[in-house]
Each structure stands twice: as C-alpha cells, then as structure tokens.
C-alpha cells in the first residue's frame, strides 16, 4: 500500500482526492453513500457574505462529454454555513475547505475573517465563478484583479489560502503568478469554461442565464495544459481539476503538476467515483512500485 497522504499549505490530506466546490453541497447528501472520511477533503459549495438566491432555471444543460451550469452561487450565507453546516461537516473526519466568493474585495475579506475564527481547515478563494454578474470571474481574468482580491484577503485571513483560478483568461500562468505574489498558499484550477447552447427551435439559450460554466471530460485536456503551465510558473502547490473522471485522469493531472485533484462533474454519473479514483491510484502506485503519491507531481517528461 503506497502512501497516499499529501500536504498542501501545511494541511494534511489522507489522500489527494477532494470533492470539488459546487458539486458536493456541504456533504450531507453524499454521506448517504459512504463516510466522507474516505475523501481527501471537501470543497464546500461557494459561500458568500449574505445568502444568495441563485439564477432562474434552467440552470443545467448537458453537452458533448460535459455539461453547462448556471447555478449562480445559490447559498445560505456564511453565518448560516458556520452555524448549521460546519459543525456536522467537521465531525466527518475529512479536510474541510470553505470556498468563498463576493462582489467586492471587502465582501471576500469579511467572509474570510468570519471563517478564520472557525474550524475550517482551508479557504478556497473563488475568483472564477462565471455565473454571477459580480463577484467572481472579473477578479480572476486579470492579474490586477487577482492581485487585488488575494492580497486584501491575505491580510485578514488566518487560514491557509488557496486561490481558484479561471480558465477564461488569456494567460492563466500570469494570473497564477499574480496570486502567488499576493500571498496565496496554493492554487486550484481550473474552474469552468464559459459556454453557451441555443435551442434551435425556440431560439432561446438553453440556460436562463444565457451562458454557463462548462465542466466534465470535455474540459480535461484544457485542465491538463493549464495545470502544466501554472505549476511550472509558481512555487506554491497546485490542486488540479477539470473533468477528472477516473484514476487515470487523476494520475495524468498529477504528472502535469498537481499535488492533488478535485473531482466534480463525474459525481453526477457516479457518486462513488472519488473512492474508485483513490483505489485506482493506490493500485497504480503499487504496481509501479511508487512509495508515495507525491512522487507523481510534475513528473511529466515534456518533449
């Protein structure tokens, strides 16, 4: 049995497979299938300072090898999360990562401050949600935006800080470098790619929000490329995600430079996928006589 433990920004994970934000709620629903302690960690549904209603339906559209969503950060607000969801979540025996979003740097800061006084293990700064008019992706598509919000939060955040990057940028490695120099302890990527579908009969976009975020296997090669580019550029750990559906995908993303992976869309077709990925990685490491899963990180041999 290989060692699957990893350490990111001082936080110990029992394995490198983490549930991705927005696909796993606050964990309750998936705890029906298996103990959440089987996971390396959980990134909670994006949390904002005040509760948000989310976008009108339809919010979901299936696409070739993927899907679009425009949920729009529906969440009960940070106070509700701290009071109602976090105590239970912390008892599940896994790393709890709070994903936070906001309209302004001040919103992010106040949310991060509130969470700094809790038992949350890490904060994931969501500067990459494509589904809200404000608060999200406008901070993640320019170096200036990423720098501004990351450095502001860094000043008040007393938890390890991971910045979640958008692929909707012309040079993601530049954004990554800006977040690193602004004080990020780790990076996670990629959030969804902005996409759109139109019903040719009604001439209406399939999503009520018109556009949405593309995820699933369709984006996986983009994720591999971006993780590779970013991990070569920065010194802080990179958590890779984007269409990871199998242990082979997880191994590939780690070889590209990821220290861990997040798993999201595949949960909708197979809620047990994270456990299968952990088991598959373990077998792969044993068969290749690799003692420690971290040995995979960044070991791609580029041409």
């Amino acid at each position: 049995m290989a060692d699957l433990h990893i350490k990111i920004a001082g936080v110990d994970f029992r394995n490198p497979v983490i549930a991705a934000s927005g696909t796993f709620g606050f964990g309750h629903e998936f705890s029906e299938f298996y103990p959440l302690s089987e996971l390396g960690g959980i990134c909670c549904k994006g949390i904002t300072l005040e509760k948000r209603p989310g976008n009108p339906p339809p919010r979901i559209a299936e696409t070739p090898s993927g899907m679009l969503n425009s949920v729009g950060l529906q969440n009960p607000g940070v106070d509700h999360f701290i009071r109602e969801d976090l105590p239970w979540l912390k008892r599940q025996g896994t790393v709890v990562i709070a994903n936070i979003a906001g309209n302004t740097p001040e919103d992010y800061c106040r949310t991060a401050e509130k969470l700094s006084d809790t038992s949350v293990d890490m904060i994931e700064l969501n500067i990459s949600c494509p589904n809200v008019k404000q608060g999200g992706v406008q901070f993640g598509t320019t170096c200036k935006g990423a720098e501004t919000v990351t450095s502001a939060v860094r000043k008040v955040c007393r938890k390890p800080l991971m910045v979640k990057l958008s692929p909707n940028a012309s040079d993601i490695a530049e954004i990554a470098a800006a977040a690193e120099s602004a004080g990020a302890d780790a990076l996670s990527l990629i959030n969804t790619l902005t996409g759109m579908r139109i019903d040719i009969h009604s001439r209406r976009p399939v999503l009520h929000n018109n556009t949405g975020g593309l995820s699933g296997p369709a984006v996986f090669p983009v994720a591999v490329r971006m993780v590779w580019q970013v991990s070569r550029r920065v010194k802080i750990p990179v958590v890779g995600m984007g269409g990871v559906s199998s242990w082979q995908d997880a191994a590939e993303l780690m070889l590209a430079g990821a220290s861990a992976v997040q798993v999201g869309t595949v949960l909708f077709s197979d809620p047990y996928a994270p456990l299968k990925i952990v088991n598959g990685l373990n077998r792969y490491l044993d068969e290749n006589r690799i003692a420690d899963v971290s040995e995979l990180t960044g070991k791609v041999k580029p041409w």
Binding site: T23, G25, G66, M67, L275
Partner: protein
C-alpha cells in the same frame, strides 16, 4: 466498493446506486417504453411519486425517470418513459436481461394521506406513470383524468382499471374520449384531493382548478437536473414560503410540491 472503514451495516440507506437486471421491457405506445427491473433493497425503500436517476453509458448526466410502480413482493421497480433525446434513446434500446444502473429512490414522493377520500389524479401524457403507484391504495375512490395527444399515445389505462380506479380520457384530436383539455374532465366530478403530473401549463391549470374547488393539490414537477440528491442545486424551482419567494430544488424538496407553494410563471 471497498471502504477502509466499516460502513452501511446499520441503518438502511435512503438511496443508493445499484445495477438492476431488466426483467421486462415493452413499447407501451410509439416512443414510450415500459421497463421493469429487479431492484432489491431500492424497491423496498421506494415510495409512490419518487424517482430514479438512470445511468446512460457515455453520458455526463443521469436521466431522471419517475417510478411508475413498486413491486414490494418481488422487489421490482417499473419505469415508463418517453424517448426525448439521445439519452432516453439509449435506454430504449436496452433489452431484457441487460442491466440498468440506477440511483434511487430519490425525492419526496406523493403524500397519499387518507385513502378513503375521493382523489382525482390528473396526468398529461408521460406525466401519467408516476400517478399509478399513488392511485393504487385509493382503488375505487380514485379517478384518473388522463390527457394524451391521440388514441395511439394512450398508456396505462388498463393498469389504472386493474387497480380499481375509474379512468377518463381526453385527447387533443378527439380520437379517444373527450376532445380537449384534461382539466375539462374534472368539471362534473366531486373530489377531495388532487394529485397531478404533466406539462407545466397543465399543472398551472390544475393548480387553479384546485384553488377554485378549495381542495389540496400535490403536483409532481420536472426540471433539468444533475446530481438528483440536492447537492448541486441545478434543478431550481421557484417556491413561495413563509419568508417570501425562494428557489427550492425538484430533486430534494420535490418532485412533488403542494401546488399553492409553486410560483407558476406565465
């Protein structure tokens, strides 16, 4: 799935994933398929009006199908579904003996309440199947008012008759029963409660009917869905609550709602 800790030995799970063998498959009407699967413990846990998420090989999302009938003794689930796109077309090609990977039972289901009440079941087209299991305990106290495009699209008439329910049919083209809207069938009926499933405009009309007659009404809704268990918040539906309007979710808060709580958008 091998777990590193003990799990699942105590309480029954609310829902789970299972590979189910197809025991029976027929084409109920053109493009409408009727599949019964061996579902083990999932059948034992299921209630009328709940649904299942069916895995479609090669597709990113499962397909939500309402449960039409629950076989308690032989631990089966029956699904009657219409081919609407690629995913359901794949499901329609499956044959007896093959397996269907099912996540079930999901959602809240109908609340039948006192089955000595006179119950009106209103179904539109492929909205009829989830009403069958709910109507059974009402037997002769139930009337099914079912609307279809035409005679060739009629499904489940025999099943409701066999359950002792009375059946009234409306068709758009008048090829069977009343020509016109399914809600017209209720005009000369007396009833204490309504259960309905069908297209949104029909459900809106049914909701108005319930209001006019002053009877409670449970409606089963559908929405584009991803996880099916309430985690992804994809299948939003506008609801009216004590603290104003908000988005609930068809998969977890529904699929069955009190019609008064649904915000019917024009």
């Amino acid at each position: 799935m091998k777990l590193s800790s003990e799990w699942g030995k105590s309480a029954l799970k609310k829902y789970d994933v299972r590979n189910c063998t197809i025991l029976k498959k027929t084409e109920a009407a053109e493009g409408i398929f009727d599949i019964t699967v061996e579902a083990g413990a999932l059948a034992g846990a299921a209630r009328a009006g709940q649904f299942a998420q069916i895995y479609v090989p090669g597709k990113t999302l499962r397909r939500p199908l309402s449960i039409c009938e629950i076989g308690r003794a032989d631990r089966t689930l029956r699904f009657v579904f219409q081919v609407r796109g690629e995913g359901t077309a794949v499901l329609a090609r499956l044959r007896k003996g093959e397996t269907l990977n099912i996540l079930a039972p999901l959602g809240n289901g109908f609340q039948p309440g006192d089955t000595s009440r006179r119950a009106l079941f209103i179904g539109g087209g492929i909205g009829v199947p989830p009403l069958l299991e709910a109507a059974k305990p009402f037997g002769p106290n139930a009337v099914l008012a079912a609307g279809f495009r035409s005679r060739s699209a009629v499904i489940l008439e025999d099943d409701f008759n066999a359950a002792g329910c009375r059946v009234r049919i409306a068709t758009d083209d008048g090829s069977l029963g009343h020509r016109g809207l399914v809600t017209d069938l209720a005009n000369d009926l007396a009833f204490d409660v309504i259960f309905a499933c069908g297209p949104k405009p029909m459900l809106r009309a049914v909701s108005l009917l319930a209001e006019k007659r002053g009877v409670p009404c449970q409606v089963s809704l559908e929405e584009r869905m991803a996880c099916g268990i309430g985690a992804c918040l994809g299948c939003a539906v506008r609801l009216r609550g004590e603290s104003g309007e908000h988005y609930g979710h068809v998969c977890k808060d529904g699929p069955v709602f009190d019609s008064r709580n649904v915000v019917w958008e024009a």
